[in-house]
Symmetry: none
Subunit: 209 residues, 4 copies
DNA sequence: AATGAATGAGGCTTCATTCAT
DNA sequence: AATGAATGAAGCCTCATTCAT
């Protein structure tokens, strides 16, 4: 690795240009996540996002040519994250009990926590992005449906899809619970987990007919 | 012409003032529900709300001193509606089977449909109203918890409360499903209903120990 | 006339609402003429127009919903003015000698002077208003062609039209000369007048064959 | 391959530097003509001019320290071009009939066509360059006046000057006609040519007394 | 009390210009 | 000398709110 070599020149050459740009973009996106999450799409201002990421407003617009574009980029990133997480989970499904799967799904949602509020802000609060929203939902649903199909032998595809929709909604409850006291949060998470398990077990029973 | 007649009573009784005011307020709130629902809190404009309710903007501000105040009033009205519905449901609980209760809860949420979008617009999309939101949640939760306590003998108050929270979230899924095709909507509603029933039955089993 | 009557109440009731609005609009348009003339369409700013007419920027936008709309209104007003002037001239044509007509045309252009710079600013300097510009030109040309047809017996319509175009351009020279010293201005105006006369006479000779 | 050969001379003569610079400047100016012509001074952007000439924005600013400076350079080049054309024409004047001169003047203007739009964009659309504009006019006028003096024996210098001004304006009509249909364009050009001839002949008659 | 014209802060976005590399 | 990322002033426009009528 050339890491060592690099460090030696680090002070001399602050940063390879491209790297700087990447950091800029990352800083902007992080700030955007914060601001959009806190205020919602409309109330968030580009000026504040620029300020929080210590970026000049003009620079922000070099990377994201509009507020909408910034929101979309965030949403895309989130969608990819969700997709990846679900794919990963799908691989492990065969090794999991119904109970284990319930836990895994809850964990999956908990890991999304911080970004979740953002997605809500961007998806729920806006007009005109119905397309993106729908694509996003469809994808997530498909991901969960795939997991269900592996987890529950003989489940009808339509049932898996409907179930996936309900499960995703139910799991969202975990993120929503973020406003509660930590104690309450734990209780609710447990409750949801149990309900997920119930749901899975019932579906399996039904599938086996 | 009745002009003369009118004039004679005009100064004396300029029309039951209170009544007129109430109508105005109602018209404004209805228009506000429409506009907030369609566009979300931020994108809704006071001017449009005034126009849709055929109210002069100045008059609107006489009744509601700010956009925020108008939103809060709407939210309060919604909260009362929810409370009342839940109280009503609570009265009927004893006559219902577990299955019947599941159906009743789903129906309750479906009846809220139209106003639901509004509440989402006002609650999700905004910062700074955490207080109102929390009070709102607490109330709804208490209402459902009361129902559960009546429906499930021996359920622990804490459990009833947690369950109420999860149930409410789950039921919200019905409103969210509003964006789906009617067919999918029906499927999802059925799925949720079944899951609610499962949840109730399991809770009863647990309560009976 | 009710002028006298009005004056008596003038101080008491500053202005019938509508009248106020009309004054506002007039003030704005006058300021806009100034600013557009001085700087051209692009460089002119709505803020400056508002300031020069002592209007709040918001009020300006109440009357003219965009910079473009303001420009169009100005252009329309100018077009009407030109049309009216030409119509008036057309009525007098029969009473005029060729020399008199040349003078009248020059006078017509001189009367337009101040607004001319504006039209140049709005027409020449902008993209996207080709339509308006063309309509404007066509109208002015038609107006002059009508005059020529009355002034020169037997002139072919096509010839009248072409001549009108050239005449209008030639007369524009008077407005352009506005940047010269007064002395030079007078000389140029005379020169143009003479050339117009020459043109008319030659056309008549040709028409008579 | 000549790569080797090149390398050998590379350090010694990094390409005739001056030549490279000149090419760069030329490329920039050509791109600038395009962009200014298409969009007008204000709407044209330095970034686009840089891009169209494949120049880094920083390099552009090395050669032209401001947008204004670039515009002035373009105008200067145009002025020189006009001057040169007029000088050339002046040399041939003695060999031309009055009719031939009219044609030559029209041709001269037609040859300017493409650059004409530019000059309009730069001269008409902007404030603050009155100086340059005046100098430009004076020069062009002087050039034409010189031609007139050669073409018309005994013409008074003042008359030649005034006539030059009017002639130049009249000829501008050819450029303005660029927006018309080709057919109309031809008609107008012919009409203008005839009027120029008329003007010249009349001036000669007058000069001869 | 009702009306709606007026106000101006503030949002999004562009682009001439600078400056670190 | 060349490059292009960074800067921030400034433009257009919206809309919550006020206030004269």
């Amino acid at each position: 690795m050339n890491t060592t070599a690099r460090i030696s020149t680090f002070t001399a050459i602050p940063e390879p240009k491209r790297e700087r740009g990447r950091q800029r973009v990352a800083a902007i996106m992080d700030a955007a996540v914060e601001v959009f999450s806190e205020k919602g799409y409309d109330a968030a201002t580009m000026t504040e996002i620029a300020a929080r990421s210590s970026t000049a407003i003009g620079s922000l617009y070099r990377f994201f040519p509009s507020k909408e574009a910034l929101a979309q980029a965030l949403l895309r990133r989130y969608a990819q994250h969700v997709s990846a997480s679900l794919s990963e989970l799908a691989e492990q499904v065969e090794r999991l009990s119904m109970d284990g799967l319930a836990g895994a799904l809850v964990d999956f949602m908990q890991a999304l926590q911080s970004q979740r509020r953002l997605a809500v802000a961007l998806i729920d609060a806006r007009a005109g992005n119905d397309d993106l929203r729908k694509r996003f939902r469809t994808e997530a649903r498909a991901g969960v449906a795939r997991i269900l199909q592996r987890a529950i032998d003989g489940i009808a595809p339509a049932k898996a899809n409907a179930m996936a929709a309900v499960l995703l909604h139910l799991l969202k409850g975990i993120a929503v619970a973020a406003d509660e006291t930590p104690a309450m949060q734990a209780v609710l998470t447990g409750e949801i987990r149990e309900l997920v398990r119930l749901y899975l077990v019932a579906a399996r029973r039904e599938a086996r007919g």
